[in-house]
C-alpha cells in the first residue's frame, strides 16, 4: 500500500500539483492482514494551490478490505467517495473487525458515494493469461487500484510503468503482470460506467523553477551531503538502525562516490562514538537516530561538548516514552535534547519545519557545528521523515559555504622562552570557538579529553574558579551563535492580538489552521521557531507584543515551559500526543476560541 501511495504521489508531483503526504503504518513488518492494527494507509492531499498539510479528511477513500474501511471511516466526511474492494468482504473477515453485518449491504454507508467493486476478482481475470500463483496475482490488485485512481484524476501512468520495469527487471512475469494490472485499472475506469465523473486538478501556481517530490528523510540526507560538499569535509555517518531514522542511513550508504563513509555500528553509543572519532580526524561526523537512541548517546554528546568538536546528531522523533510508537510522530524529545545530559552541557538545536525544509535545516546544523566546534541537534520527526511534498531543487551555487578553518600552526608563545606552542583551547575572540587541529599536522600535537581543562592550554585542571569560568565560557559560546535570523511574524494588517507560535513539523497544520481562522474573519499572527537553542534574539520581544501566545505542540508543553522560563511570558498550550499530526480544522477551532476569548 505504501508503494501504491508513493507512485500516485510521484505521478501527482510530475503533473505539477502541490501536495503533501502522510504515510501511516504499523510498527510490525507483516502485521496480520485484515485486522485493525494491521492496517497500513497512505494519505495524499493535492491541489492546484499551495497546501500545507496532508489534509484532515479525505475526499476519496480506497479500502482494500473490511479492516481498512473500518479503520479509516471515522476520518471520511459525509458525501465523500469510497472505493471498496469487495473481494475480501467475507463473513469471516467482517467478523475479524467486529462487524456483525456487511456495511456494504446494510445501508450504513448511505451517506457516502460508495463504489463496491470486486477489485481482486477483476485483477485476477485481467491477469489470467499470466502464469501466476493466486497469491502473486492478488498482490497486483494495488496496481489495478492505482490505475483506476490515475484515470479518475487524469494522472499519467507512464512513470509507474517505467518504475515497474526497473523494479521487477529480473522477474519478467511479475513485471508484466503488474503493468497489465495497472493498465487494466486505467482502462476499467475509462470503459465502465461505474464512474460517471473524473476530476481535473490543475497544476498549482508555484514559483518558477525545477521541482521534485521529496520526503523529509531524503531531504535531510541530501542536506548532509550538500553541507559536506560546501564545507569540503568528508562525511562520516555512524548510525544504528532505528525507526523512523534508518532511511537516512540507507540513503547515505548509496553515496560513496561523494566520499561518504557510512558505518553501521554495534549500538547507538558506538555510532556516535565513531562519528566523534571521525570528527577528531577532520571529517564531518554525523549520527542519526530517534529518541531512544538519543538517550543512549547522551554521554558522548557531553564528551563532544567538552572536547568542543563538530558533530551533528539527528533525532527523528517518534512517540515515546521507551519504545513508544516507533512508526508514529511526536515532538516530545525537545527537553531531552536541550537538557538530557549531566552537568552544564549546552547544545544548539535546530528543528526542521517541513519535509523539504529538512535539507536547509541540515545545512544550518552543520554550519553551527563546524563554525562553533560543537555538537548540534537536528530535530525532525516521523511525520516529516516519511511525509513528502514538492521541493524546488536549489542551485548548488546558491548554497552557503562553510569554512572549517583548520589550525595550521602554533598559536601561543607559551612561557615566552622561545618556542611557539599550540594551545587547543585558545579561543577565537569573536566566536569563542577553539582551534580544530587535525592529527597529521606537525607541531600541533595535543591531548583532549572529558576532564575539565584549563582555559587556554587545555591541560587537566581541577581548579574551582577555572571550572566556573569554563562552564560559563561554553554557555556563552552557544548563546552567542551568530547568523540566527530574527523570529519572523506573519501578521497581515498588524491587528492581531493572538500569536500562534510553533516549532518543527507543526508548521504545516498551524499555517493551514491560521489561514482558516483568517478566512473566517479573525486576526491571527503566526511565527515558527527553527532555532530552539539559542532562540532568535527578538523572541522575547515578539512574545511580549501579543496579548496571548498560543503554542500548539505534539507533547505536553515542552516549548511552552522553555518560553515561560526564559521570557516570563504566559503561554497557552494546545497539546495532543496521538502519534499523528494536528488537523487543520482542530487547530483552527482552538485558535478561534482563543481569539474569541480575548
Amino acid at each position: 500500500m505504501q508503494l501504491t501511495g508513493d507512485r500516485f504521489t510521484a505521478e501527482t508531483a510530475s503533473f505539477g500539483n502541490d501536495l503533501s503526504t502522510l504515510p501511516n503504518f504499523p510498527a510490525e513488518i507483516r502485521a496480520p492482514a485484515g485486522t485493525l492494527p494491521g492496517v497500513s494507509s497512505f494519505q495524499l492531499h493535492f491541489a492546484n494551490y499551495d497546501i500545507l498539510t496532508p489534509g484532515d479528511a479525505p475526499d476519496v477513500l480506497v479500502a482494500m478490505n473490511p479492516a481498512a474501511l473500518k479503520a479509516n471511516l471515522p476520518d471520511v466526511p459525509k458525501g465523500a467517495t469510497i472505493i471498496v474492494d469487495t473481494g475480501d468482504f467475507t463473513p469471516r473477515a467482517l467478523k475479524k473487525v467486529g462487524w456483525e453485518t456487511n456495511p456494504l449491504e446494510d445501508n450504513s454507508l448511505s451517506a457516502y458515494k460508495v463504489h463496491a467493486l470486486d477489485l481482486s476478482g477483476i485483477t485476477m481475470e485481467a491477469l489470467a493469461p499470466f502464469d501466476l500463483s493466486r497469491k502473486d496475482a492478488s498482490r497486483s490488485k494495488n496496481m489495478f487500484a492505482l490505475g483506476l485512481l490515475s484515470w479518475m484524476y487524469g494522472r499519467s501512468i507512464d512513470g509507474t510503468v517505467t518504475f515497474l520495469r526497473e523494479k521487477f527487471a529480473a522477474r519478467e512475469t511479475i513485471r508484466d503482470a503488474n503493468i497489465a494490472a495497472l493498465k487494466a485499472g486505467w482502462n476499467y475506469g475509462e470503459t465502465t460506467e461505474e464512474f460517471s465523473v473524473s476530476y481535473q486538478v490543475k497544476p498549482a501556481a508555484m514559483p518558477a523553477g525545477t521541482y521534485r517530490n521529496i520526503t523529509g528523510n531524503l531531504a535531510l540526507s541530501y542536506g548532509l551531503v550538500a553541507a559536506a560538499h560546501q564545507s569540503r569535509l568528508p562525511l562520516f555517518l555512524g548510525s544504528y538502525p532505528i525507526t523512523p531514522a534508518s532511511d537516512i542511513l540507507h540513503e547515505l550508504s548509496k553515496h560513496k562516490r561523494f566520499a561518504v563513509r557510512t558505518f553501521q555500528a554495534e549500538d547507538e553509543v558506538a555510532a556516535i562514538g565513531a562519528a566523534l572519532g571521525a570528527s577528531f580526524g577532520g571529517a564531518l561526523g554525523v549520527t542519526t537516530t530517534s529518541g531512544p537512541g538519543v538517550a543512549l548517546k547522551g554521554e558522548t554528546v557531553g564528551l563532544a561538548v567538552s572536547l568542543e568538536l563538530p558533530l551533528v546528531i539527528v533525532d527523528v522523533q517518534r512517540g515515546g516514552p521507551s519504545t513508544g510508537l516507533p512508526t508514529k510522530t511526536e515532538q516530545a524529545d525537545l527537553l531531552q535534547v536541550i537538557y538530557g545530559r549531566n552537568g552544564e552541557s549546552p547544545v544548539p538545536v535546530v528543528a526542521a519545519s517541513s519535509p523539504s525544509d529538512c535539507f536547509h535545516a541540515a545545512i544550518e546544523a552543520v554550519r553551527i557545528a563546524v563554525t562553533y566546534r560543537t555538537p548540534v541537534f537536528l530535530l525532525s520527526d516521523g511525520y516529516l521523515a516519511n511525509g513528502s511534498e514538492p521541493w524546488q531543487v536549489p542551485d548548488v551555487d546558491s548554497l552557503p559555504t562553510i569554512d572549517p578553518n583548520f589550525a595550521t600552526e602554533p598559536n601561543h608563545d607559551g612561557d615566552g622562552t622561545g618556542e611557539r606552542e599550540f594551545w587547543p583551547y585558545l579561543r577565537d575572540a569573536e566566536t569563542l570557538a577553539r582551534p580544530w587541529a587535525l592529527p597529521g599536522t606537525p607541531g600541533l600535537e595535543h591531548r583532549i579529553g572529558g576532564i575539565e581543562k584549563l582555559d587556554g592550554p587545555g591541560t587537566i585542571s581541577y581548579d574551582p574558579n577555572n571550572h566556573d569560568h569554563m562552564v560559563r565560557l561554553r554557555q556563552a559560546k552557544i548563546d552567542g551563535i551568530a547568523g540566527i535570523p530574527d523570529l519572523e511574524v506573519e501578521d497581515p494588517g498588524s491587528e492581531a492580538r493572538l500569536l500562534v507560535l510553533g516549532w518543527g513539523s507543526t508548521y504545516g497544520p498551524i499555517g493551514a489552521a491560521v489561514r482558516r481562522a483568517r478566512k473566517a474573519g479573525h486576526h491571527v499572527a503566526q511565527a515558527h521557531l527553527r532555532h530552539l537553542n539559542p532562540m532568535p534574539a527578538n523572541t522575547g520581544d515578539v512574545l511580549r507584543s501579543y496579548d496571548r501566545v498560543l503554542v500548539p505542540e505534539m507533547n505536553l508543553g515542552q516549548l511552552a515551559l522553555l518560553l515561560r522560563g526564559k521570557y516570563l511570558v504566559d503561554i497557552v498550550g494546545y497539546n495532543r500526543v496521538r502519534g499523528l499530526p494536528f488537523k487543520a480544522e482542530e487547530l483552527a477551532d482552538v485558535i478561534m476560541e482563543e481569539v474569541g476569548a480575548l
Binding site: P234, A265, A271, A274, G277, R447, G450, T459, I460
Partner: protein, 346 residues
C-alpha cells in the same frame, strides 16, 4: 619499514628519541604502578618505528591506564568509559594515514566497553589495543573487575565475588581477532617485542598486558614474575617452536588424544605441540589460552597466540569508495539534488 599495519602512515628521517614522545604533563599514577613500565616501554620503542609523530594518535577510555594519552607527546583523546574502541574505529577507518592506538583496562574494555571491544576485533579495524589487566578497579578504589578471580574479597564483595572471570585472550579469539597476544608489564624485552609485532599487524591487534596495581591488587601476577616460581608456571609461546616450559624445558603441552584438549606433559613427550600463530583455525590458540588456571594464573602462556591476515575494515571501506567513484564517476551534487523525476514551472 615494510610494516603492513603502518602502511600509509608518513615516516620521518629525523632520528627520534624517547624524549620526543614524552609530553610535558606530570605523570600522576601511584608510585610503583605497573603503568609506568608500560609507558616507558611505549615511549622507548615508538622511535624505532620512525613514524611522523603527528600521525600517531592514542585514544583511551576511563580508568587509571586511560590517563596514558596525556603523557604521550602525540595526538590523543581521553574519552569516556568503555568507548575508546568505538571512537578509534571512526578515526582509523576515516584516516588511513594515522597509527591509532587504544589504551584501555580490564574494567574499561571488558565490562562497560565489552560490546565495542568484540566488534572492533570482529571488524578488524586497523588499531593496536593495549589492554592493561590488573584484575581490579583502581580508579574507583578497589572493586572486583571482570577479570578478578572468583571469591575475590573487595570493598564491593566483602564475602567474596561470585563471578567467573573473563579470560581476555579467549574472549578476543572468540571475537574473531586476527592478532592476540599477552605480555607482562615488568618484562620490558618481551613487552617491546610483542608491541612491535602488534604495531606491524594490519587490522586490530589486542595485547593483554598483565599489570600490577600495587595499591588495590598488589602481587596479582607475582607467581608469573617471581624468579623462584615463574619458570614453573609461565609458558612462553614462540611461533614455530614446541610449547615447552620449566627452567630446563622439562614440561610440555600436548593434545589429549581422547578429549582433544591440551594438557601438560613431560618436555620430551613426542606429542608436544608446536605453536603456529598463523594457523587459520584458532582452535589451538584457544586451547592454549585455556591452559591458565583462572584463579592462580598458573600455566599462563604469554606471547603471540594468533597472528593471521584478514582485510582491515578501513581498507575495505576505502576500497568501496574508490570502486563507487570509478564505476559511477565522482559525485555531482547538482545532479544528485535534481534526481530523475523533476518538473519545471516556468
Amino acid at each position: 619499514m615494510g610494516l603492513p599495519g603502518l602502511a600509509g602512515v608518513p615516516t620521518t628521517d629525523v632520528k627520534q628519541t624517547k624524549k620526543d614522545f614524552t609530553s610535558d604533563q606530570e605523570v600522576r599514577w601511584c608510585p610503583g604502578c605497573g603503568d609506568y613500565a608500560v609507558l616507558a616501554a611505549v615511549q622507548g620503542f615508538l622511535p624505532d618505528l620512525g613514524l611522523a609523530r603527528e600521525n600517531i594518535v592514542f585514544v583511551s577510555g576511563i580508568g587509571c591506564s586511560s590517563r596514558f594519552p596525556y603523557y604521550m607527546n602525540t595526538y590523543g583523546m581521553h574519552s569516556i568509559h568503555g568507548r575508546a574502541p568505538a571512537i578509534a574505529t571512526g578515526l582509523a577507518s576515516s584516516r588511513p594515514d594515522l597509527s591509532v592506538w587504544v589504551i584501555t583496562g580490564d574494567g574499561d574494555a571488558l565490562s562497560i566497553g565489552g560490546n565495542h571491544l568484540i566488534h572492533a576485533l570482529r571488524r578488524n579495524v586497523n588499531l593496536t589495543i593495549l589492554l592493561f589487566n590488573n584484575r581490579i578497579y583502581g580508579l574507583t578504589k578497589g572493586q572486583y573487575s571482570p577479570t578478578s578471580e572468583q571469591g575475590k574479597i573487595t570493598k564491593s564483595t566483602p564475602m567474596g565475588s561470585l563471578e567467573s572471570p573473563f579470560n581476555p585472550v579467549s574472549l578476543a579469539l572468540g571475537a574473531e581477532a586476527t592478532f592476540v597476544a599477552r605480555t607482562i608489564d615488568s618484562d620490558r624485552q618481551h613487552l617491546t617485542s610483542v608491541l612491535s609485532a602488534a604495531a606491524a599487524h594490519r587490522g586490530t591487534s589486542l595485547v593483554e598486558i598483565y599489570q600490577n596495581c600495587n595499591i588495590f591488587n598488589d602481587g596479582a601476577f607475582e607467581i608469573l614474575k617471581n624468579r623462584d616460581s615463574r619458570d614453573e608456571v609461565l609458558i612462553r609461546l614462540e611461533h614455530g617452536e614446541p610449547v615447552r616450559f620449566g627452567a630446563d624445558g622439562q614440561h610440555g603441552v600436548r593434545r589429549n588424544p581422547s578429549t582433544g584438549s591440551l594438557e601438560v606433559c613431560a618436555g620430551d613427550d613426542p606429542g608436544v605441540v608446536v605453536h603456529d600463530a598463523t594457523a587459520d583455525d584458532p582452535t589451538q590458540a584457544f586451547a592454549l589460552s585455556r591452559l591458565a588456571d583462572p584463579g592462580t594464573l598458573a600455566r599462563s602462556p604469554i606471547g603471540i597466540f594468533r597472528q593471521v591476515e584478514r582485510p582491515a575494515y578501513g581498507d575495505l571501506m576505502a576500497a568501496q569508495l574508490d570502486e563507487a567513484a570509478a564505476k559511477q564517476g565522482e559525485g555531482d551534487l547538482q545532479a544528485l539534488l535534481r534526481g530523475k523525476d523533476t518538473w519545471t514551472v516556468a
